[in-house]
Structure formats: structure tokens, C-alpha cells
Amino acid sequence: MKLSVVGLGIISKAGSVSAIESMLGCPEVDPTVLASDHTLAIDIPNEFQISPSLVRRMSHFAQISLLSACHAIRDSGMDLQGKRVGIIQGSVYGPIISGIQAFDDLIDFGDNQLSPTNFSGSVFNTSSTYLTLAFGIQGCTLSHTSGLDTLYNSLQSAALWLENGIVDYVIAGIGDEYTPYFDHGTPSSDQHAGLLPSCEGWTTFILGKDDDAKYGKVDCKYLRDWPDLKNEKVIVAVWNERMSREDFLHLAVENQACLPVYLRGAYPSAAAFDLALALICGKSRRFPIYHPSTGIYQNQDTVSGEQITCLSPSENKGFYQFQVEEIA
């Protein structure tokens, strides 16, 4: 499937789209100078005239997805009025903070003291429904939670809607929020340490069928095996037990690849950030190669004809390949 990307909104430890573009303009990036906060600040832009009381009622999970969508819409320069727009939101952990708060209500205050706000905030599709309210979108909505397949499944559903002519554009946001619960104890092993998120983030793609989309097109495929990567710049999503960090580092060195985990922190749906980074690299023709020996990303220009690919592990032991088409 191929999708045109007309806008991007990134909420991440590495900053927004413009911050990442600036970063790529530098000769190198030392990830240790990036923000170290687990939880990211939410500041909804005034230009969208979203009711402050609506934002106040939203959980952090819904707020971070809304902020990401605002950035993406602004980045696209699109006016939503009069367009048929669908919303897809994907998350692996879902609104875990509200879920934990709801558990705390029951434990601390008793069975008749569960806050309806915490309970409704813990419903998985809370982010997509708040987006409909914030932007007045009456089109179709869908919420995915399919582990490491969440990004691919979300994009596949978007492609289906676009191909069937159900919508003109899709706001597809994928991310996860961070909870301090994960700081609570000491992981029992290094293997488990790799499972614990160190950060949060949300990435929104405005997808359409335009031939002259701002970020070009992305071709998404499932692969059983690690592909032949001749003449490709590779961004590798690292998460979980499927492959050890050492194996990924080895691949990075061998392929002169980028491992964005040190830029955006670790969270299970972060492949969406990595795809967005690939799209920004494709547009700016710059690419950050990670050097494990120094821990520094060195940026270099891409050569014409060189393809940028994002590889992400799938749930069934293969990979998803997201190839960015070169913008003419």
C-alpha cells in the first residue's frame, strides 16, 4: 500500500518536526543534551480555538494525541472545513494513566468511589473521540491496539478508507503515554528493562492521495526476513525482546543505519516516530547515522536515488518496511 503524507505532527523528547529539521541541519547530534523528562508538556495552540474546558476534561492521553494532531494539521496547511476526514488512533498501552487512577480510586476509596472521569478517560477510543469534538469532525473513526503491528494496521485502515473513497484525508495518530508506575521498581533483568518505556510520544500523519504531498509517499510492506538494503538509508525501530539491543547495534554499524531510540526515548508505538523521521529525512535529504562507539548521530546528505527506509519489528517475527519515495 502507498500513502501520501501531507502533514506531520510530532510530540517527542526530540521535539517537533521543525526541531528535528533543525537537528538534521547540524553536523552531529549528541542525544544526551536532549530533554530527559519522561512526560512531555502539553500546550494546545490557540489558533484551533479549541475550548479550554474541553481540553481540561481530557486525560493526558487524549491531550497528547490532540496536540500532535494540531501540529500535523498546522504542518499540512490544510483547512478541514468541507473535507471528508477520518480519524484513526493507535496505541499499544492506551490510556494507562487513567486506568491506573481508576484502579487507585477503587483501592484507596472503595467500590462506590470510582471517578466517572477516570473511568471514561480509560476507555481506549478516548483520543479519537476527543479529536472529533475538538475539530468538529463527523467522519469515520477507528482505534487500533495491535501491539507492534499498531502502526501498520492503522496505516492499512487509512489506505482502505482512502482507496474506497470514504474519506479525502485521514488524521492517523499513533503513540503512547508514560506512567510513573514504570519507575516504580527495579526490573528483575536486563531483558525486562528493555520492555519498560522510558518516555512517551505521539506522531500524527495527515494522509491522503495527493501526488504532490509535502512529504511524498510511503510504501508499506510486511517482510518475513531482514531485507537486502543496498542503496538504502535505514532507520531501525528498536523495541522489545524480538531482537537484543546488541543485535540492533550490530545492524546499525553494518548498515550505517539510524537507531532513533536515543533521540525519542523508548515506548512501544515509537515506530511511528521513526517513520516520521524517515519522511523528514526524505524531504530534507539529510540522514543521521548512529555511531554506537561514541553515542553520537552524525548527519550527512543523502545521494540522489538513495532510498530511505524505516524497518520496524512486527508481532509475528517479521518486519514492516516503510519506504519513503524520493520527492522530485
Binding site: 498501552y93 467500590d111 481506549f124 478516548t126 467522519g139 482505534s143 501491539g147 527495579t186 526490573p187
Partner: protein
């Protein structure tokens, strides 16, 4: 035009352990919601639910168990064995709401305040919480696996998406529907929202005062026309149209004019190439809550007329949340085959505000097409149009 054929149906609910038991309960008007057995709570009042009992030893993975039970039944009816499944491109599309995290309260309760605890257990549970992937692994399926969590429309959306994926050629066969379980968080959460009835629910009646929760699973085997032809399968029905639209109005209340639901009905009918008069009956969302039933009834009356035959199967299964849409598609397909629908309890208690008049007792119907509607948290409105295969 038929997008995908239904070749197998399976379900488990508070009304029965399989499809036959469930429809018999519905046709005979039998229902027996009771206070929860499996979950403990301390409240001054009991709120009845339609619980599936007998799986207490699998309390940690009930959504999976329910889904697998319904899938096994549907596969037998479809005449599909493991060998055939592994040779074909088979996808799994499941809607659910509670099955990922809410059922881990016991673990959280035990470990919350222990400073030396390892929180990676919860991370692992969440990471592996996709019930579609659990089923995919169990059955060694090789097609797409999607878990949708679109609140109470999840099962309907899963069937609609699966049908579109078959049409797009992403899979030859799809196991599609919903599964969900009642856990403490959900039971107490719905009570906190004050939309739960302390009596058996009575959808669309004047005396309705809320929903009863339910649980279970409803699964259809969907197949492409070429797959049906290749193996000489006998279709039971078809998915003819699907649509989902948002109210963009309120996080918990339906938009009073039902604009999202109207769009969903109209779009699904258009996709099916049908007119409202072609629809033999509607299996409504019909939860028994004051506002939902009123909006849904008015929209149905406006589009289909006040005398369209309809049923509200949540009166017998309870509101099974993410499973509800799956259960209702399965039941609707069976009603089309049987050419009859179950009545609505206390249907004589007509509420003019709803405009559509529920009938008591089984009603014979005559026609080839039916609609199944789902209204969900956040103003999601999803509609499927089903067809009967002669």
C-alpha cells in the same frame, strides 16, 4: 453487491453457550440477569448482569476464551479445519474493550505499593494484550491480525473492516467479530456513569432506566466469493454494507438529532445498493438507556418508518461492550436465515418519545436484508447491512 460471504457463525453469551442455545433463549423470551458471581464488590445495591459462568479458572484470559469458543463453533459450521486455514490467507479482526488491562486489578492491587516490585509484568501484559494476535498465534493464522478498541462499536467495526479487507484481497477468509468480559472495573465504572439499571433492562420501553452489562463473543467466518467457490462452501449470508460516522457532539451523550447515526445508516444502505424499504428488520443497539434509545428510535423511524420490525437483543445478552457488535451480527444473520426476530420484553410499554414500537414475542419477518447498529462512547455510530443467501 455482496462484498463478502458469511460461511460460519459462532457465539457465547449470557443467553447461551453456543448459537443454538442463544437463539433458543431469545425466541422463547428467556432471560435471567443476576448479580455478578465471578466478581466481588461492596455496594449497597446489586446491578444484574448477563454473566457467562463456568470459566472461573480462566478468569485472567476470559476474552480470549470467549473468542476461541465462538471461533471454534463458527469454523465447524464453515467446514474449515486447521489444515485448510494454514493453507489459506486467513485474517483475524476482533473488537474488544476490557480485555487488555482492566482485568489486571488483582495484580496491580498486590504490587502497587511494593518498592521492590518489577513493573515489567504490566508492560508485558499490555504489550501482549492484543487478543487478535493471541488467536492468530493459537491457530497459526498467516493473514492480518487487528484488535480494534472502538468502545461499544468495536465488534461491528471489526466485521466491517474485515469485509473490506477481503474485498481488497488482503485475505481470503476472515474471522471477525468481538469479545469482551465483565471485570470489576467495568462493572463499577458503568455504575459510576449512572447508566446501569438495577432491574432487567427493557429497551425502548417507557419504563427503561438503563443497561445491564453482558459478556461473551460473537464471531463470523467471512469469505471472498472466490474462496467460497473454490471450496464449494455454502454461504449463510453476506455483508452488504458498512459505515461508521461520528457525532462530534459529546463524550458520553448521543447527539439529539442522531446526525452521525443517520449518516451511518444512509451510507451503509448506499454501499449495499439498497433502499430503506429493502430492510426486513433492524437489530438495534437498544441498550435500554434513556437517551440512546430515544435517539436511535427516532432515527430509525425517520429513515425506515415507524413500523419497521426491530429487535433489541441486549435485552437477552446484556450489553457485551466490545463483543456486542459481533454478537449482534451473528444473531442478525441467524434471524435472517430463520426469517423471524425475537420480541422485546415488556414491549407493550410503548414510549412515544422513541417513535418505534417494540413488539413482544417472536415476529415473523419476510425479506433478504437486515441492519445491525451500534452506538458507542464518544459518539461513534456504526451500521452493518447483512444479506441472506437463498
Amino acid at each position: 453487491m455482496s462484498q463478502s460471504f458469511i460461511t460460519g457463525l459462532g457465539c457465547i453469551s449470557g443467553a447461551g453457550r453456543n448459537l443454538q442455545e442463544t437463539v433458543q433463549s431469545l425466541y422463547s423470551g428467556k432471560r435471567d440477569p443476576k448479580p455478578p458471581v465471578r466478581i466481588a464488590y461492596q455496594l449497597n445495591k446489586d446491578y444484574p448482569i448477563f454473566e457467562v459462568t463456568g470459566f472461573e479458572e480462566r478468569a485472567n484470559d476470559l476474552s480470549f476464551v470467549f473468542a476461541k469458543t465462538a471461533i471454534d463453533e463458527a469454523l465447524i459450521q464453515a467446514g474449515l479445519d486447521n489444515d485448510y486455514l494454514q493453507k489459506s490467507k486467513v485474517g483475524i479482526f476482533l473488537g474488544t474493550t476490557a480485555g487488555c488491562f482492566f482485568n489486571r486489578e488483582d495484580y496491580y492491587r498486590q504490587h502497587r505499593d511494593r518498592a521492590d516490585d518489577d513493573p515489567s509484568y504490566i508492560a508485558q501484559v499490555l504489550l501482549n494484550g492484543s487478543v487478535a494476535h493471541q488467536i492468530k498465534e493459537e491457530l497459526s493464522l498467516n493473514g492480518p491480525a487487528m484488535t480494534l478498541s472502538n468502545a461499544c462499536a468495536s465488534g461491528t467495526d471489526a466485521v466491517g473492516l474485515a469485509s473490506a479487507m477481503i474485498e481488497r484481497g488482503e485475505c481470503d477468509i476472515a474471522l471477525a467479530g468481538g469479545c469482551d468480559e465483565i471485570v470489576r472495573m467495568v462493572y463499577l465504572g458503568f455504575i459510576s456513569l449512572m447508566n446501569t439499571s438495577d432491574e432487567p433492562c427493557v429497551p425502548f420501553t417507557k419504563s427503561r432506566k438503563g443497561l445491564n452489562l453482558g459478556e461473551g463473543a460473537g464471531i463470523c467466518v467471512l469469505e471472498s466469493p472466490s474462496s467460497v467457490k473454490r471450496r464449494g462452501a455454502k454461504p449463510l449470508g453476506s455483508i452488504e454494507g458498512y459505515a461508521t460516522f461520528s457525532d462530534a457532539y459529546h463524550i458520553t451523550a448521543p447527539e439529539p438529532s442522531g446526525r452521525g447515526l443517520k449518516k451511518a445508516f444512509n451510507f451503509a444502505l448506499k454501499q449495499a445498493g439498497l433502499q430503506p424499504g429493502d430492510i426486513a428488520f433492524i437489530n438495534t443497539h437498544g441498550t435500554g438507556t434513556t437517551e440512546n434509545d430515544k435517539v436511535e428510535g427516532r432515527v430509525i423511524a425517520e429513515i425506515f418508518g415507524e413500523h419497521i420490525p426491530f429487535t433489541a437483543t441486549k435485552a437477552y445478552t446484556g450489553h457485551a461492550l466490545g463483543a456486542a457488535g459481533g454478537l449482534e451480527v451473528v444473531l442478525s444473520a441467524q434471524f435472517l436465515i430463520d426469517q423471524k426476530i425475537p420480541g422485546v420484553p415488556y414491549g407493550e410499554d410503548f414510549d412515544p418519545d422513541c417513535r418505534i414500537r417494540p413488539q413482544q414475542g417472536v415476529k415473523e419477518i419476510s425479506g433478504k436484508y437486515a441492519c445491525s447498529s451500534s452506538l458507542a462512547f464518544g459518539g461513534v455510530n456504526s451500521v452493518l447491512v447483512l444479506g441472506r443467501t437463498p
